[in-house]
Symmetry: D3
């Protein structure tokens, strides 16, 4: 069993509405805390939306996600995984952004995740807009390109905006491919949809070998068939999972800046994560939750439930990799 210090407070002991909200009621262990060396999986907030081209808001997401994460319990009722039994988990706090300087913010994030990687902590990040994934990949993929399974309604493979600006939440994976952080042959993008400017992004994907599974194929083929292909594309190599909340239909996840009609329902939103079993996942993120557009908080609650599924996958995968429990 993991040390009790790294387990959530139970709602049968302290009601869920009480207490200072950390991610999943885990202990707050900053990178400077001496306990940091015992942590296996770190949940990290990236409160930043400097890359947003339309409706801002994700800078407020980590706090709202922490709040709603107090509703999460300990055991996956479908797979039976108990992540806090498997791994020592902690809330590592927030990456400190600079809301007035996009480039400085990206450097701060890369630096933070370099430290996380150096301590051999598996990161589960709560964004932030999707540009956050770029500095995370710069840290995690510093030494070799990663595969990626990407749930989203957009490819985020665009070249530039507003007369050539190359860093927005619509461009992170174009940059990541250019910088050699991703192995395009091991990248799959699932759920792509919505009215498009053009197909420049999909042309780029095709040219480098990224697989795009648009929503009409997702609905036609079904979750299991799609995820079987996704697992095959990722293969056995190290793989990152990036989950944009706008993957899910906006009736289930209204709180996001660029929703697209006609996405998966909430059950499919969880299923796709469960079907990542066997993938060698080394990190994951949940991005683009936007509290100002989520009056009921339902999007945040869906977001943290997906995060719990991601945590189960990360814990099971790390347990398998290390051959045993870490403690």
């Amino acid at each position: 069993m993991a040390h009790d210090e790294f387990r959530p407070i139970s709602g049968v002991d302290l009601p869920r509405f009480a207490g200072i909200p950390t991610f999943m009621r885990l202990p707050h262990v900053s990178l400077d805390d001496p306990r940091i060396d015992q942590v296996d999986i770190g949940i990290i907030g990236a409160p930043w939306d400097g890359g947003t081209t339309n409706r801002p808001g994700p800078r407020h997401a980590p706090r709202q996600l922490r709040d709603h994460s107090t509703m999460i319990r300990h055991q996956n009722s479908v797979t039976g995984i108990r992540p806090f039994d498997l791994m020592r988990c902690a809330d590592l706090g927030d990456v400190p952004p600079n809301p007035a300087d996009l480039m400085d913010s990206m450097e701060r994030m890369t630096h933070f995740f370099d430290r996380v990687r150096d301590r051999n902590i598996t990161p589960l990040t709560a964004g932030g807009d999707h540009l956050c994934s770029l500095p995370i990949l710069r840290a995690l993929a510093r030494h070799r390109p990663l595969g990626m399974i990407h749930f989203d309604s957009h490819t985020d493979l665009f070249h530039s905006y507003f007369g050539g600006f190359r860093y927005t939440h619509g461009t992170p994976f174009r940059r990541a491919v250019e910088e050699g952080l991703l192995d395009p042959k091991r990248v799959v993008m699932i759920g792509i949809r919505g009215p498009a400017y053009d197909f420049e992004d999909r042309d780029f994907a095709r040219s480098v070998g990224i697989t795009v599974i648009p929503i009409e194929d997702f609905h036609r083929r079904g979750v299991e068939d799609v995820m079987e292909e996704a697992r095959a594309i990722a293969g056995t190599g190290e793989t990152y999972v990036s989950y944009d909340i706008d993957f899910i239909d906006p009736a289930f996840a209204p709180g996001t800046g660029t929703p697209e009609i006609g996405g998966p329902n909430s059950y499919q939103a969880l299923q796709v994560v469960r079907l990542l079993h066997g993938v060698n996942v080394v990190g994951a993120d949940m991005v683009e939750v936007s509290p100002p557009f989520d009056q009921s908080g339902g999007t945040a609650f869906l977001g943290v439930t997906v995060m719990f599924e991601l945590l189960c996958i990360l814990a099971a995968c790390r347990a398998e990799r290390t051959g045993a429990r870490t403690s």
Copy 2:
């Protein structure tokens, strides 16, 4: 035809936004009203959430459900059932709770439902939190255990909370089994899901013979197959139907205190009730609607639409039992 006195006011006569809102625009007939002896089916409010462990609110549900029930019309457009032609229906008003004393409230509720049962009125109750079902069962099942078809995302079979407290909205059916109010072999729980503390509740269910159909089975098998099993489990004996609004996915029913991601959609929410045909239903409830978390009122509207489906089943069943119309 039922006496006109016990029929809803039509929206073609008086607009739906006008008039003092009773359940489905039926006459208000209190237990002390001389007309009470003519009533076949009574719709009852149980404005009480003393058993709520996290986010309170269901005490406000009966009023909001009445408000939205003015949108309901007279005929089931799928089954063709016209409940107000079949049975004399009335709004019996609210059970008077004591918000400051949980035990006193439960006694008041039991007493109220004893009187309902003694008048041979079939009750359709609008909660309130799920602990309401316990005093209802104490009245209805006073003389023999009932079967139960239970739609929910939680089993509500837990033993206790907060250091041994045995009466919360997470425990009513554990108590009901212990008190002999339910025949566990004739109990089925459908839609169970969500991160769990542990499987103590499911272990208890197994030990006494309650059938639990988790959501992954529901989605895999389909509504018709699941409901066929449910009908078989209930058999021909007297059966109670308890419907927790959190059975339905929170995108459809956000106004509830303990939502769980990945539930049935709204069409399935109605279908499961329609597929209760042939079950010997002697009472039903709709619980856990929570207006403070339902800003648009959509959850209440969904709740009363399910209540109309339940009313159709109750009316058809009672008509069949009594061999004929009661009037």
Copy 3:
């Protein structure tokens, strides 16, 4: 290519939150503007809800739909249609209603659409309540009856309300049949559901030969099968498409005055329009969006996404009819 003047402003040039909102960021070309003769397809607001019997609000819809339409881009990512390449499109502004006089408002609307028809502009109208479709049909079907594909949860075939009043949003198609504006044999109504007063409307439909496909058949048969029948009913004759937002389930489209539980999801909402390919569509509307009941704006966003699908069909159909691009 269509003249650049009749194309939307791109969000990569001017951010989506900037600029005065016209429909899909198209130029505003009023009927008195000299450029009107170049317009192929006109998007028109009908801000009027004088026919509403319960919860008013659709008078505010055109403005909210314009606002959210700035999120729409240029290309249909499933069918590949680029409507603004095919046809010269413009925002023709709003029909001027008289909120205090229902009959005067209908005359104003008929007059406006007469002018649109006389200029050979294909109209895509944003209502308003469903009574708006009647004056539109009076203009478009002045010379011969049209077929109609009608997406809705109600037939809108009722005879009268409130003691004989014959013009409400529940009666437009009864009037249209009586006035010879529709050919009932070429009319199909899809998605009908909800508690009913009685089946007077369906009896009328049957008596004149209108096909009604209720929601239980829709869910059982599936989208493709239903739409194949719809296309067969419409045949090759000129056909109008009327899309009431309450066709869609209220979890996806809460912002409407008379929601009914259990409708299609958002993906099906788009699919049914895509499956109109080959139908000879001469006009379309999107009605009953009600901003006061749509706090998040999600209904309006869904509404304009459906409108974009309708625009794609209208543009492709007109391109086929005219044998070529108009410019």
Copy 4:
């Protein structure tokens, strides 16, 4: 003491959230109820907004006002008046409107209030938009003109709208003066403000002798000085009190269709009513509360608190007129 039957249910007995909501938890006594002859003061809903020129909604006000009126208690804590001790009060239900026919609705309302007047019941009406006051005055002032104290941000003295239409919520008192229902010399309008089309209404007021006290005078002179003048203008003759919720600043009363910035605060909103002591008030209304624009319900709560103050004045005035308690 008034008969117990005509007293509100106390919140110490039945919690305020329980029970079917009537106005101030009084018994519902319709005009056809035999108990109607015992009623001194009747609270009446007028759910109608057919005269609204911009944002509809007041048709929903009576229901929301009833809901929030359950928060009201029995005694005026400033004046000490206990209206339910002084007079037998009841909720008379709603006037049945015809939402599709403005003229028919006005006739229905006049007829209803004729019956109220014939039974010598003092009416306190919850609108509805301000056009409701016209049919009320047609009944109450049938035999002689009344004085009026009018709290509002608009004079509602305009001649016509939309090309000559003479009945909107901007014209009721122009019509009432023309019809001889009001004695203009005994009419005072308090709180008038906001950007104006022109001063046609104020010119009319001047020409017939109506006193207009604009908001800048109200703020400069203070409540007591203004109300002293108001009492002097009303004199000792029979006087109607019409209270438009938009009299109050929109920060306190956002839920209304035509708010104007810079009005009185909530304390002044109550004070002006208390300072009606000694006026011979024979009826009163609270109009223009619009629930769709009142998400928190705060406007309705303010509205019913003002209604309680009006009720205290009506009860004290009637007690004085009749020389004694009526029972």
Copy 5:
């Protein structure tokens, strides 16, 4: 200067939206933390609303108040007080309530505040409903009665509810007087208003010597005159300050369960606290903030701004008492 460890994080360093939210961004120091002995002033959450008779919600207040408290800065711009320079402040976390057992919750709270008192920490508590003040007083006034300055729209001096139940949020100070925790001659209640059941509470106040200043006197006399009397009543003895958010007008503080119209505005809400200078304040609370009724969060923000004013008074008073800075 206070040790840097006990100072808020500045928004110029870490943006206000980032970081795990503690009260005023202070360090979290639980009662079991070794640093607890250095703390002078502890901010404490009491997430509990078991005493609420109508609309529940304050159990969620501490979390929402913490969230909004990240907007607070370091210096009082009117008085110039810098509380974090004067005293070592910390967030002591939440008292663990038992939502299912009122008596047990009160015991847990008394026990918690006994420990706070024993460490000589001055408590500033964020409720919770007003019944929270009773267990706090049981701890703080264990050895001698305290004076109290009480801002509220209700006296909370009622005897009992619901057939004799003696512990609700309407009774704490009746109990406190009975238990000898308050010296009634040194108690003043300011802002009392609203429709009343009767004057039983005010009669009790008079009989024991509590001074009640109703809102009409507050508005007539003005803030400075009223607070001069309040300071005189409190005198030089140890005094508790209890601040119910419903003291303030509901336009400024809608998020509360029992609002009353006509209260002080937000500037007066702060002024009354500043005018406590010179009072010997030994503890304070801010109660009845109810997030479910505070959609915009504005009530919580007002609440924490009042808490900052209270903190300034507590810090200045303790600095004066101890003759010097504590560090």
Copy 6:
């Protein structure tokens, strides 16, 4: 009279909910439109919040302000000014921002306002966050420093944020003074309040001769006295008026990113503008309205009402300067 082309559409002709929303229903005249040379006063949107350090949102303000501006009419009911009779007014559209590049956005804005100034158009700008005022001043004050009357709860005179970043919405007037765009002796800042980091900003103000009137002085001295001083400080020289919506108390204006408790009420908010009569105003702005935090739209409506008051002042002042009507 001004040409009819430059007058608002009246709500008596076209209902206020109809039509594409431009500022105050004026014609849209872009800088490239040939009619631009006839425009006297231009209303301009600056949809940009790149300088926001905490809660973003003002980028959405111009659109929401345009929407609510359709409620504005033609005549100031207090001063009698009819701005559209005095001056030819138009909506000049939005400045095109670059949401991803703060420096580029400021250059675009300066360039836009250079063109406005060169055409001798008096600008009334709807921001955007307060950093917008800097590029406006760079254009308007290019040739000589201006005086400024500044309504706000913050001085916006801070030096830098986040480790030296010099351009945020907290710094524009520090930069403007440094760049010689403002004459500090002719600058007055009114309404300053809220918890402060420190008094560095006020020290700077004092050092350069800017007058700061904090809120406690505003409330103590009264509006008229304060504005008399403000007029004296501005003198007869050219003066800019900058109005941050957070000047007003957040109960009246919740929709803003950095509210501060205890500000002026809505009547005072209008009064201060009316009391600018006689000041030589050459431009004005209304900034920091933030739609995502303004669910009811009340803040936008207050904002446009203040803008109408500013427009009256600008029109009257320009009429006086030019000695006569311009047409």
